[in-house]
Homo-oligomer: 202 residues x 2
């Protein structure tokens, strides 16, 4: 399986943003929503082998993670507003003290950020996506590990605290997807494409 963990440094965990001004009122949740789309949606379908986690760490009081599992999720539409509505509903749920609480098929929410995701990463090969990393095409093993996780930031990138936490989880390799610094969703599209190509060959 493929897992994309998108860390929103400013994204609010409260869900009290305006659908009519998502970028201005949510802490740039829009960046994460487009990353969610790129993670899960293909032409007329969903990537059933992929999970996307949005880590909302922009509130000082709490961090929340919304997880969308392509194997189970239904009725995902690609536009900012419908994805924002899903996240808004997820954030209205009070999650259990630990682990993910399911809102509807494939859509879950957890109190906490990377720590909540970490509980699911045993056995996963974890890469950080970063423009200062090594080249994806060269560095990814020819046979992609069965369970691979890619962690990336929002428009501000990953901060040092998050990087340190990721290293502790075993994410010691950073990958870049090319010479340009790109939007989160474009990075995800390029990673998927590289994995799709490798899987088509094997």
């Amino acid at each position: 399986m493929r897992r994309f963990v998108i860390v929103g440094s400013k994204a609010k965990a409260s869900g009290d943003f305006l659908l009519s001004d998502i970028p201005g009122t949510s802490g740039r949740l829009d960046v994460l929503l487009r990353g969610l789309r790129a993670s899960l949606l293909i032409s007329h379908g969903v990537r059933r082998d992929t999970v996307a986690c949005l880590v909302l760490q922009g509130d000082p009081s709490r961090t929340v993670t919304v997880r969308v599992d392509g194997a189970a999720a239904r009725y995902l539409r690609p536009d900012d507003r419908s994805l924002a509505t899903i996240v808004k509903k997820a954030l209205a749920v009070t999650p259990a003290a630990s682990g993910f609480t399911e809102l509807r098929a494939g859509i879950s929410v957890a109190e906490d950020g990377l720590a909540a995701v970490a509980a699911e990463l045993a056995g996963s090969t974890i890469y950080v996506l970063d423009e200062r990393g090594e080249e994806l095409r060269q560095r990814l093993p020819a046979a992609t590990p069965a369970d691979t996780t890619f962690v990336l930031g929002d428009h501000l990138g990953l901060d040092e605290t998050t990087r340190t936490a990721l290293e502790r989880l075993g994410a010691t390799t950073a990958l870049r997807v090319g010479p340009q610094s790109l939007h989160t969703e474009d990075v995800i599209a390029i990673v998927h494409n590289e994995l799709d190509r490798r899987e088509a060959v094997t």
Copy 2:
């Protein structure tokens, strides 16, 4: 320069869609807007070497093309809603009988669709992006032509009339970006990435 021409088979040329329901009221303009973002925006910047043309052919009475030139455009934000607002304003302009009429720096509108774009394509190498095409990585020349145009469809792909018109313009090669059928914006991200890599080598 790089040019992306995104043909919206159902996208309305009237601009009377609702910002609160872009997918449902515009003929899926949202697909084109995300393609516009992928064409022009990179992390904290605009691709100054790129032009995006949105061909809105979903109205029976008229076809309109909105062109955004990365060399001149300012204040482009990546979310669906702000890009929709730009297109709405462009569609409120009555274009001159021929050629593009500028609404504001870098943003122009023309009556007509591919015929309006065609006037600018002399000397450009034109590719159609299509999942049945040849492999991008193998087929693109090592040194990308100085002026390259990529034409792609919306969620419904390109119809036969459009394909025939494109062949007449010299677009005889179709390229695919990998084994999966992807969203328009992901295809654009992957094409840009391939060009970025080639330019970085030369």
